[in-house]
């Protein structure tokens, strides 16, 4: 049955080449932990992607309850944490995932760095990867404010003060992020929410797409 559905679609839109690009390839011996256990270091990139998927899914469910408004943000998180069925687990996954994804990205970066896998012809992919790292840190920074509790508020205030200290563009940057030159408040929360939920994920998906297409084009780097 599945095969007939596949054939029916394939006859009309020719999906086989697409499918072959994504899944039809050989996994070389030196990255396969079944053959060399030390090849587990190649798992970190995949685990980063896996945690990113967890983050996207849990984040989508969190927005079903979260209210980005200074009166209700904290209350909505408190409600989610104490009243909603499994709300504590979903929020816990998003909270811990944010830390685990940084750890996995860090390990993946170290693997690529120490193996010299960023050398020609993979320079571009390394740079895209470093940009993914920055975007991920930005997601952590903006997501930290959203529960609107004391640690969120004061940490954001410190961050914005540091941004303000940058010469020439500092004050404009602060105003852009916080929505006001002085106040960290209602505008700041909605802006951080928009950045966290729309702007940075869009950048992340674009960069991840480029990252993966380049991996498939170039293949994985050879053994040392």
């Amino acid at each position: 049955m599945m095969q007939r559905i596949y054939d029916w679609i394939d006859e009309r839109v020719d999906i086989t080449p697409l499918w072959r690009d994504i899944a039809d390839h050989e996994v070389p011996e030196h990255v396969n932990p079944a053959h060399h256990f030390s090849a587990f270091v190649y798992c970190f990139g995949g685990l980063t992607f896996f945690v990113t998927v967890i983050q996207v899914l849990s984040g989508m469910f969190l927005t079903m309850y979260y209210v980005p408004d200074i009166e209700n943000a904290w209350k909505s998180v408190y409600y989610l944490q104490t009243e909603v069925a499994h709300g504590q687990i979903v929020r816990g996954m998003h909270h811990w995932g944010a830390s685990v994804v940084i750890v996995m990205l860090f390990l993946h970066t170290l693997r690529v760095f120490f193996q010299g896998a960023y050398k020609k012809p993979r320079e571009l992919n390394w740079m895209v990867g470093v940009m993914i790292f920055f975007v991920m840190l930005g997601l952590g920074l903006t997501g930290y404010l959203l529960p609107w509790d004391n640690k969120a508020y004061f940490a954001t205030q410190v961050t914005l003060e540091i941004a303000e200290g940058v010469p020439f563009i500092g004050e404009a940057t602060k105003t852009l992020l916080a929505g006001d030159a002085e106040i960290v408040g209602a505008q700041t929360l909605t802006r951080f929410f928009a950045i966290h939920v729309f702007f940075l994920p869009a950048a992340l998906f674009l960069l991840m797409g480029i990252h993966f297409i380049m991996i498939r084009k170039q293949g994985i780097s050879g053994p040392l």
Partner: protein
């Protein structure tokens, strides 16, 4: 694929009518013991992913995500801390050579050099060698970077009493109460208690909220005169009649919550 004259298409599309069979590449084309990604290797990846997910869920269940008190911009006593992966930068900016007049050096130049170097690593380390021992400068700089990040994070986290911080900032949902500011008891409250406990009995940096406490009139009279825990004695200044009014007022507010 057959191209040019005689090629058949599906309808008026560009999709070829010639059905190409799905033929995986010959294993002999690859060196070493290769394995097909689909489905063999992917299945193993999913197994690893499942084990990882179980561990991750155990972490989530064992340690619920923390939530502190609702943000209070007037809380001057609160010591701000960033999330753990920014602690190293936060600590770095505390040092004399990276703060005050050298702020630009600490906040822009040093991190800019470090992250810029990371971004441009392939162009700085151009040699053909890939083994870490054969490119000592790149390896050395990276190790130095890792050690400093770990050390700075440790320095920042060491001085913080995390348990006390969490204890002092437990989340409390402030119940909605109506406070009769016209009552005689509120007038007494204004004189003796408001400075620390706030105009809506909500508490402040130095004193807890008086809403949702479970004391009798007699106990409240005693606390107002003799203090409790960090509250010193002799805070209440007034007559016995006023003391009675004050205690009854606080009890009446708390009865709304029950």
């Amino acid at each position: 694929m057959k191209k040019g004259k005689g090629m058949q298409f599906v309808g008026d599309s560009r999709i070829t009518a010639d059905k190409q069979k799905f033929i995986p590449k010959d294993y002999s084309e690859y060196p070493g013991r290769t394995e097909a990604f689909w489905p063999n290797f992917l299945l193993k990846e999913w197994l690893v992913g499942a084990v990882f997910l179980v561990g991750f869920l155990c972490l989530t269940l064992a340690h619920p995500a923390p939530l502190e008190k609702m943000a209070d911009p007037t809380d001057a006593a609160y010591i701000p801390l960033p999330d753990w992966y920014f602690l190293f930068l936060y600590q770095f900016l505390k040092y004399e050579f990276a703060s005050g007049p050298y702020f630009v050096l600490g906040a822009i130049v040093a991190p800019g050099l470090a992250f810029g170097g990371l971004l441009l690593a392939p162009f700085l380390d151009k040699g053909p060698n890939r083994r870490p021992v054969n490119r000592p400068i790149a390896t050395g700089l990276m190790l130095l970077g890792i050690i400093s990040v770990f050390w700075l994070t440790y320095e920042a986290a060491e001085h913080v009493n995390w348990e006390e911080k969490a204890e002092n900032n437990k989340p409390v949902l402030q119940p909605e109460v109506e406070i009769d500011t016209e009552s005689a008891g509120y007038a007494v409250f204004e004189n003796s208690c408001m400075q620390c406990h706030g105009d809506q009995l909500q508490g402040g940096g130095a004193a807890p909220s008086l809403i949702g406490i479970d004391y009798s009139v007699e106990e409240l009279k005693d606390i107002a005169k003799n203090g409790i825990r960090t509250m010193p004695a002799g805070q209440f200044k007034g007559s016995e009649e006023e003391l009675q009014q004050l205690a009854e007022f606080i009890v009446s507010v708390n009865e709304q919550v029950k």
